[in-house]
């Protein structure tokens, strides 16, 4: 654990050669991928390609922002996919008038979004409460909601598909703002805020301190339990937003499918992005770059005629390679 502690220490000095190198290598890999595609993939340089890829990663990155903060404290959140399903199930119940009827459509959509995201946040807070109050390991505490959460979403909709066609709501997944898809705008905003928080704010320093050495953080007076509860709550909120985006894109909410496997995609993005999985060192922009790398590799393979199954193998190799390289650079 001592190397983790020194990592935090180095980070506190805000600049460090190895960290710079790690960061540089992921960005470099992304650049290499882009250049490869410019040469070999037809029609790569177009607004459409950019939008397709960004739209694909947006939900992963939105969830990944929360996951990065969780992992920075040395934890993990397996329940993100289930919380997406819960948020995705609740919102239509409100704006379709199944659960409560609000006649003014804009108000109805606003209430739906707020209630859905807040509920996901509350479940996230519940994760944090289990972890801090009962000292349950994060992987087990969030496993509870991983199993039960999707069930809650399914039970609340009776397992039925909720189809809808509602522009007032679907702008979150289908709309554009100055030509940029709205979910991409949300993604960038969240990444920017989280990156600032992690780097500059007291809360961010506390998160990293806890991940570096929880005991030391506690002894130095950091409110460990409160910070952790907030971090899991944020992860829930991010998942809630991502759930809304997914159902808006699909024009329907299917509790069996929304967010399925998302925990693994988000963790993979965080790991490839250079965040230390044992906590104490984290980069939100890295998570964005990590998600982009994974997506772009898949896009490159698919658009060059490689089957999706092989793309999975490559993704697996990519995760291992990235984590292994990070180990080497720290050694």
């Amino acid at each position: 654990m001592s190397d983790v502690a020194t990592d935090t220490h180095k980070l506190a000095k805000s600049f460090d050669a190895t960290q710079f190198l790690t960061k540089y290598s992921t960005v470099l890999a992304l650049l290499a991928l882009v250049i490869f595609n410019l040469i070999f993939t037809k029609h790569f340089i177009s607004v459409q390609t950019l939008n397709v890829n960004l739209t694909q990663v947006a939900t992963i990155v939105i969830v990944g922002v929360g996951m990065t903060l969780v992992i920075a404290t040395g934890g993990i959140d397996l329940s993100v996919g289930s919380m997406m399903a819960i948020s995705g199930a609740i919102a239509p119940l409100i704006f379709l008038g199944t659960a409560v009827h609000i006649s003014e459509i804009h108000l109805s959509v606003a209430v739906a979004m707020i209630v859905a995201v807040t509920t996901a946040g509350a479940f996230g807070w519940f994760n944090g409460w289990l972890i801090t109050h009962f000292r349950i390991q994060p992987i087990i505490a969030t496993l509870v909601l991983f199993i039960a959460g999707r069930g809650i979403a399914q039970v609340s909709t009776n397992g039925n598909l909720q189809p809808f066609k509602l522009g007032e709501f679907q702008w979150i997944g289908l709309g554009r703002w100055l030509g940029v898809p709205v979910q991409v705008v949300i993604m960038i905003a969240l990444v920017a805020i989280a990156a600032w928080v992690l780097r500059r704010s007291l809360f961010g320093r506390q998160i990293l301190a806890i991940g570096g050495n929880e005991q030391a953080a506690r002894l130095s007076g950091i409110p460990v339990a409160r910070v952790k509860r907030w971090v899991y709550c944020i992860s829930g909120l991010c998942s809630g937003i991502a759930g809304l985006v997914v159902i808006a894109i699909n024009s329907s909410s299917d509790a069996n499918l929304v967010g399925l496997g998302m925990e693994l995609d988000a963790i993979a993005a965080v790991a490839v992005g250079g965040t230390l999985l044992s906590g104490g060192r984290a980069t939100v922009t890295g998570t964005l770059v990590g998600a982009l790398i994974i997506q772009l590799v898949r896009y490159t393979l698919l658009s060059n005629g490689v089957p999706d199954d092989v793309a999975k193998l490559v993704k697996a190799a990519l995760i291992v390679l990235a984590v292994w390289l990070q180990r080497q650079s720290r050694a």
Binding site: F134, I140, I152, I267, D309, K312, A317, V320
Partner: protein, 321 residues
């Protein structure tokens, strides 16, 4: 260590007690709950999860985790289905072999490259899934009914389902290995304190490597049973098996931090989580209430919550005492 073993004993007694209560409840409330058909159906189906959970139990006792078990089982089912025309023995061997290869890969990544178990097995989970889909051409692979292969999953031996026999045998061996061999004691020692074990000269790397290979092999075997029982190799089956296995292990009182564990209680944990579903079916059959199948995951989750809170209370009290 001694305190921990008291906790483990309490938790494992707890799971046995809960299991006994649930069976008693079912016996009193429903006709045919303890009938031959129901028992054999429950055992036949849950034997797959039992095998996966056994491997997971050993991995967790060393302080690791194996997320790849579900896709490995799917891969095993596809490979064995492809070879099912060659009969039971060949089909089983190739299925288990596929699982062993994944296990060896896991062991290599974790022990040699020193990649965290969580992330290493996450990667092999993807890889096994991709390989299974490739081999199966994205479809389920029909199993040959001509040979002996389907007997493995569908056959009985004196009214006992063969998969259940395999699982019981595996657990018996697992229990003996854990309690009466030096390897078994090393597993617990490593989970208790890896650095100390290394300094004491225990073969830490070899044992860790072995538990992942074991977990891979057992997952492959579970896949063989899956293919033989349902007559098809299923590349997309096995989703969520890893978390079900982890839940069973935890419900059985094995601490996720490693160092403490019981093979028998893990089996009880598997049966308990499996029977919850069974009881729910019977309850619906009575017609008083109608709980959709979706409730089962909610109830399983609540049950897991109850157990982990109980465990943590006990642990905290032990620490304070």
């Amino acid at each position: 260590m001694k305190k921990n073993s008291i906790i483990a004993a309490l938790s494992s007694q707890g799971v046995l007690l809960a299991l006994a209560l649930l069976i008693l409840f079912g016996w009193l409330r429903y006709d045919n709950f303890l009938g031959l058909f129901n028992i054999s159906t429950v055992l036949r189906y849950n034997s797959m999860f039992a095998l996966v959970a056994l491997g997971m139990c050993f991995v967790i006792m060393t302080g690791g985790i194996d997320l790849s078990v579900g896709s490995t089982a799917a891969l095993g089912s596809v490979v064995s289905a492809l070879f099912s025309t060659q009969g039971m023995v060949v089909g089983t061997l190739v299925g288990v072999g596929a699982g062993l290869i994944v296990g060896i890969l896991n062991g290599f990544l974790i022990v040699r490259l020193k990649i965290l178990p969580f992330i290493a097995t996450l990667a092999t989970m993807l890889a096994a899934n991709g390989t299974a889909l490739l081999l199966a051409h994205d479809e389920t692979v029909s199993v040959s009914y001509d040979g002996t292969f389907v007997n493995l999953g569908q056959g009985d031996f004196y009214n006992i389902p063969i998969p259940a026999l395999i699982a019981v045998l595996a657990y018996a061996i697992g229990s003996v290995v854990l309690n009466f061999t030096s390897t078994g004691r090393s597993v617990l020692a490593i989970g208790g304190n890896e650095d100390a074990s290394r300094m004491m000269g225990l073969p830490v790397n070899r044992v860790k490597f072995m538990v992942y290979v074991l977990s891979g092999g057992l997952s492959g075997l579970a896949g063989v049973i899956l293919a033989s029982q349902f007559g098809a190799g299923q590349p997309i089956e096995g989703v969520g098996w890893e978390l079900f296995a982890i839940a069973s292990v935890v419900v059985g009182g094995t601490l996720l931090t490693g160092g403490v564990g019981s093979v028998g209680a893990t089996l009880a944990g598997v049966l308990l989580l499996g029977l919850i579903f069974n009881v729910l079916n019977f309850e619906n059959g009575l017609g008083w209430i109608s709980l959709s199948a979706y409730w089962q995951s909610v109830i399983r989750g609540l049950f897991l919550l109850f157990v982990v809170i109980l465990q943590s209370r006990l642990t905290l009290r032990q620490k304070q005492a």
